[in-house]
Symmetry: C2
């Protein structure tokens, strides 16, 4: 029995008490929250031996997934889903650890470049097998077609959220 069952039951009671309450959207939003918490906690636990948090991992991986291994804070905020003030803090922490290098841009002196360091790249290579293992276990319950369908529907959901 899923940890979600009690939540779902309480939404059912809410629907009874508030006929205008739209069950389906409410269930989806709660599921997203439960999933996010779980994914976040699991990733934090997995990454602990490497001394980084899940948000820090996300930053490193967004740099890793970029030609040139460098982005500026604004791009990073969008790619990693963080606010820019938080990017500053996370980048500070990653720089202190020597995983990221911060350099001022020449063409536009307002901009800053955050680049993966040698040590950052090495760290990624090091934790990659464990991360791949986790990701595979996480989606192991979904058949490929189901995962593709889920991806499609989540994107549609996100589009709608961003539309207004």
């Amino acid at each position: 029995m899923s940890s979600f069952t009690p939540t779902e039951q309480r939404l059912a009671v809410t629907c009874r008490r508030q006929p205008a309450f739209p069950r389906e959207p409410a269930v989806l939003v709660r599921l997203i929250k439960h999933l996010y918490k779980r994914v976040h906690d699991d990733a934090n636990a997995l990454l602990k031996p490497w001394g980084i948090s899940h948000p820090e991992y996300n930053i490193l991986m967004m740099l890793y997934g970029t030609e040139g291994y460098a982005l500026n804070p604004t791009q990073l905020a969008e790619a990693a889903g963080e606010k820019s003030a938080n990017i500053t803090r996370l980048a500070d922490s990653l720089c202190e650890k020597g995983l990221v290098e911060r350099t001022a841009s020449d063409e536009d002196r307002r901009k800053v470049s955050l680049a993966l360091s040698k040590a950052g790249l090495a760290l990624i290579d090091d934790f990659m097998p464990a991360v791949c293992g986790l990701l595979e276990r996480q989606a192991a319950g979904l058949k490929p077609a189901e995962a593709a369908q889920l991806e499609r529907l989540l994107k549609k959901f996100l589009d709608q959220l961003e539309r207004g």
Copy 2:
């Protein structure tokens, strides 16, 4: 063009660089994060006029969805997807605002009951139309069959996460 596109492109580059990196699970996990952030921010903004945050709203609604309008912290933690230490803090805040009442249990003196107050109920009635509106807009892009399918797949995903 969705805010997710840059993230997705970077995952594609990562797949090229790390052949073992499983694209589909990684995309799903990122989508969940982006969706959660968005939902969380929108809910916080909507609820601001009523002086409560999204997590506080979740607590109130879980109590509302319970026969007797009362739960103890452990149940609340599970239903709302929060850690128990955080429930203490959120309950403190809601008690201070007079929306929740904390009473010790008689049968088991370790337990505590958190119950919706009169004012809490009234507040829910007050913000309910706005919340229903938000929920409906959020899922407006999904046809009923799609929403149902999405619910089914998210539950399957969550089950797998909780399995290990």
